[in-house]
Symmetry: D3
Subunit: 304 residues, 6 copies
């Protein structure tokens, strides 16, 4: 029996078995580490919201010490992971030269990213305001920072989006998927989202890569901003980078489980009711509701 295990180990270790699921970055670099990226995001969260997620007692007199230490740690870890992200996507064969330049590049991007943290904090504070205004059940800003999944999802999105702007490969998607796993909210880091944005409850929300969302927009759980279809190239592979997701203008509200597909525009102040399937433009101030349900006989005995 043991022999069977040794045989299986042998099979699993042969290139013909693992080749299709194995990736060795150029120049023998290590792979990005999901675990270390989780630590990176924790550090950012501690910096942005002092007192909520790190130490449980943080006084004004010591904030600068904690911020200094946390930024220093963040700088080290983030530089390393950006470096690995660059290596993961690297297709240079002429090693040594590129690598030395990548070392510097990773450091530089990390610094630029960290410089954007005050602005990320400012925008997130508008999102908190929007969540508070949009939910009568919210009792304080603190409750929103502690408990509202939208804030977790937007922190990761706004961080990942900034890294996209700085041309970091792969890492932003790892960050957004972390939030997706924790909150059920899936925002592609390449999407463009304005200020005072909120999503109530959030589970099942999808915001595609080429979506553009204005200011003061409110979504509910289960809303999809997706693509209806996409062009294929001659080999039948999807053509990358074509705008294919909706534009949602300022002050729009979209109720739960609505599916909005394609590069259409939902005009300013429009309201989309829940559970609808929308594949056409909606004008400014428009109202869209599902057609009325029927009351039917229905033999029930339980279960899905």
């Amino acid at each position: 029996m043991k022999k069977k295990l040794l045989q299986t180990i042998h099979t699993l270790s042969s290139p013909e078995s693992y080749n299709s699921v194995y990736h060795q970055p150029n120049h023998g670099s290590p792979m990005p580490s999901v675990k270390e990226m989780q630590e990176v995001v924790s550090l950012i969260r501690e910096i942005i919201f002092p007192g909520y997620f790190g130490l449980d007692i943080l006084q004004e007199a010591t904030i600068s010490f904690y911020t200094g230490v946390t930024v220093d740690k963040l700088f080290t870890l983030l530089t390393r992971q950006i470096r690995r992200g660059l290596c993961f996507a690297c297709d240079t064969n002429s090693a040594q030269y590129a690598c030395v330049s990548c070392d510097g590049k990773a450091e530089e991007i990390a610094v630029q990213f960290i410089e954007s943290l005050p602005e990320i904090r400012r925008i997130l504070s508008t999102d908190i305001q929007a969540a508070y205004n949009g939910d009568p059940a919210a009792k304080s800003f603190g409750e929103i920072i502690f408990c509202y999944p939208v804030i977790k999802a937007l922190l990761n999105y706004r961080v990942a989006h900034q890294l996209v702007q700085l041309n970091v490969p792969l890492i932003p998607r790892i960050i957004s998927e972390m939030a997706h796993s924790e909150t059920g909210i899936d925002i592609h880091p390449e999407a463009t989202i304005g200020e005072y944005f909120t999503i109530d409850h959030g589970t099942g929300v999808v915001i595609g890569a080429t979506s553009i969302i204005g200011n003061h927009v409110q979504l509910y759980q289960g809303v999809t901003l997706g693509a209806k279809n996409f062009p294929l190239d001659e080999q039948g592979n999807p053509i990358k980078g074509v705008p294919r997701h909706p534009i949602v203008e300022d002050n729009v509200v979209i109720y739960s489980n609505a599916t909005i597909l394609g590069r259409i525009t939902i005009g300013k102040g429009a309201i989309i009711g829940g559970n609808v399937w929308v594949t056409n433009d909606v004008p400014e101030g428009g109202r869209i509701l599902q057609s009325r349900p029927r009351s039917d006989s229905f033999e029930y005995g339980g279960g899905i």
Copy 2:
């Protein structure tokens, strides 16, 4: 470059940057700790379902020892977190006196909560029964306790609801959001829910703060019991505490992704089909289905 980091640390540490996202409880108290609250919920789960989640071998002869130790630990941690919840929401400026009284208050609430554990266990056992009856795939009660997300969500809900009854601020929302993150089921701790309640699969379910649910109710994944709209005060802020979510009477079944909005009543024994948008009362025994779909031409090339 390093200079830029020091400058950013300086900016992040200045009150004008962090003021809008910082909360210092009165009298220098520490903040509630999400991590410790996770431990609190783990301890409660070990007490309620002996043998499933703590030690992997627990015999009848030793249950009382383990229960004693776990309750003792729970009492310590819960008292501390209740205390912090009270401090978080405290707006008393005249310190010392209030604080001493809060010490005692937190202990007293923790004791009252722990006294309710046998009753919480009893109600949860009706929920397990309901889950078993409602799912032909369920093979034993044990499988339901181990695997069914509804039990995880209802344990947190029933615990959080009890703490709401005891007027503990913030902590109940932290507990319900934990279950939301793990299961995708978002039940507000202020909602009222009867016995023999079950939710199959559960991802995307939302049950709002003023919802009232009877006995023997069954929901499926993606069901929303939400508010359609809510009154604003003169400053345009939502008025808190107004009943705005549905009343769902005994023996109702609601299929997946149905959205039920507003203070309407779904009468006894009604069945609501999936994917419908319901904003009006449904009479006792009523049946509601989505209007029939159309079969249309549809150019497809992939993707959302």
Copy 3:
């Protein structure tokens, strides 16, 4: 006050309180351990996708060492948990004999399972291909392995399904629920799913126990393949094991939040639009869309 705690401990420790939520496996065996099962799945993931989730640097020269060690650890842990799964479901009273035979049985099943890992890896590589082809936003296979929840969900499903084939009780459901919690994708381990299968985003997807899915099928988030109703026996309990979920043939696409219920057949190449409620067969190449929405007045003031 302390007296009240002692009294509650006493109540919680009495059989009349815990009996309905307590299960002691026959012959004093320990319960399955969810924590150890998580480690089992981590080990399998490290084996299947070398270099992504274990060590962050894994070179071709050392893959066989790491595979050997990881398989050896997997064998130990999996044998133990399979053993516990067998004990959990065991209803033999004549102890000793059965137990010795179960020791051997658990080992044998673990070996058979491990022998199937190369094939599981091969099928998962077709799923990765399908995810890549189905999403213009995907930049590499590596990104899909790192970030796409569908791969996490299918790894757990394909592992759990294999254990179902080997007649292991309970353990497969623990494995599938882990993936459900992390990804919001709930695939019953007894479902039958072909190759080149993908689910985009995935949150809220439910695939019931008797579902049958062909090759090259693509689902989007929120899709339900459920039961419409199920027969009850004379005591009013659901009859287990009756086919009650859909058959989805090759090359079908189902958009987000569609609910497909009952033992119906969705024919080859059919496309089902989002947010529909489908309880009847759809012919080969069929197209189903939600009936057109209405544009209605809608008094809005916020909130769900």
Copy 4:
């Protein structure tokens, strides 16, 4: 270069390299685990001295719960390690039968050992009394339990000695070496030691396997109770089990760094001064001091 590593791995993995330092217990049993033995000793220490080393707050009302849980955990771990100790020393080739009987034997020994804990606690309390009386710097019994290395060393010795009495191989030596490493006090578990025994400071003390020590004996650091020589067999190997260490009668005091060698007797109430080399009997009440030092010229320039 990498090639050299692979070559070394190959060499290290070949039996001719590892054979002389490898031991595979009969019947494929696992080796004793030093780490788990450390946990075993921690549990015993928590049981013996309630409130000092486990939980930092332990009230009389809950001592029985904590004792119950700790004894239950101890029983599981100790049974397993005793089992492994038996297997380590097992030279039975006829497997299956012996193994089943060893399972029961390990459990039985663990129970017998646990039954001796109250007596071990009682004797240790006499040792604490002796330490307190023997040291003017000691301020309370609590300080002695917390800080005095002799108590750590005697706890391990008295536990290990009890396991020797119960014929457990290897495990007692692992336990005594733990204390040696922590305290510098090396007491062989086969030595015989009376009540009210103390060692001040303790570093460097050695008490050999066949030593016999009476009641109310006090040693200081660096004292050796050793063998002067020992008979060899025909192959030149030492003959095991011959009495070769001193007998120290009641009320003896031995000062620091004294070396007492051979099966000699130090009579009741004798006092041995520091730094002496004693290889002959000392009568009851005897006094032994180093011969007077000389005052000599000594060229010094530092250092050992």
Copy 5:
């Protein structure tokens, strides 16, 4: 058999068994925590020797952040442990009032202690200098900070001694015993030790509570500065606090394993050879050596 365990648990939980080894601080306070004291000492070590034992990369630009954070953590933990030390030794029965005053007292002592850290660092730097000058094998100050047990022992001693000065009970002895366990050097925190002090190798050194040591003194391993005897009171208990250990003046060197006992004085610049037993004063510049050994026949067959 199990019954025997339950019976033993019962015995161990009865006051007559545990009373002699149990201490419940007044007013239900928790006991000091050895584990937390270890953390306290780690934090102090990180502060005193920046870059050696905390983070492995610490630049001048960030030292102030790390120092700030580490001091803040130290303040919290140390205050708590000092508080517990006070409670451990507290014999006040009139609770509430005393306790509130102890809260403040603990904080105040912690602040005073922290204020002494720069001076402790300065004295330790003289000890490092002495170690370097006294050992030709030492290659750099850094090697001494990293590796020399004397520095570990003196850090703990100088910290513990400062806490003795501030009248903290028990805690100083816990700190000195930690160093004893790690290094084999046992310095009582009440001893008085000057600057530029060093001990080479150190194992087995004992420095008693009333010892007084000048500047530029060097000891080697195994040296004892002990008491020869001590007065007993009428009950036969040792009288506490009587000077009974040696005075060692400036520039003395004492070689390995020398035993110096009683309140004698070793005059300035004296050199004491190894392995001697000294119970009388040694004059300034004196030289003391063991009397010459004899060369004797000695039947050897191995072993101690």
Copy 6:
């Protein structure tokens, strides 16, 4: 009060306070990590003694997998720490060039070191043999590997000595001090020690940097092979590197607490009794014993 803490932080963070105890390696390199070195030594121990200290069950069929993985991990960690050791001692100011060459150098040394592991294992097996032959209490080789401090100390010594041969700075001393702390045996890594070497019990043994020890030598606890004095240079600093410790020839036995000082020679087969002070050569086969003790009156009342 808080103000005093801020002031102290300021003082501790100013260069005049920390300069004498701070070392920043050239080129901004990190410091060696004691914690990681502990892991390095653990890995080596697992490789040398398969089955004793890593996994608790290691079968012949899988030894090569475990060895491969452990060597691979060792290579990574050891290369990093050697690199840091080189940086710690580096005095090159012309950065970039040296650093690239050091990267390669560290890797090369790590490979050379690993290549010596089979030989280190072989020599250690002779030491185990010597320990077995020298102690009638030893029951098996396995007991010696598990429990005998001499083996722990010699493993570290032989590893550290090999790194000394490869010119690695600082790291060898960190390794030898680890063993000193655990065992009380302090062997300088530059000492030269033959095969079949053993130390019984071991606490307090010191073997200086220029000592030379032959084959089949046996020491007991507390033995010092030290320097009597050493020449100072014109500034009064000790001159490094001068031979100043004893030469101990083959088959010598030295009993406990003997102090042997200076570059003297202990001839073949000599036996040195315990507690002697030896500063002159001892001829081949010589016997040295302490002069006879006196029996004196001695007023005793307890304590050292």
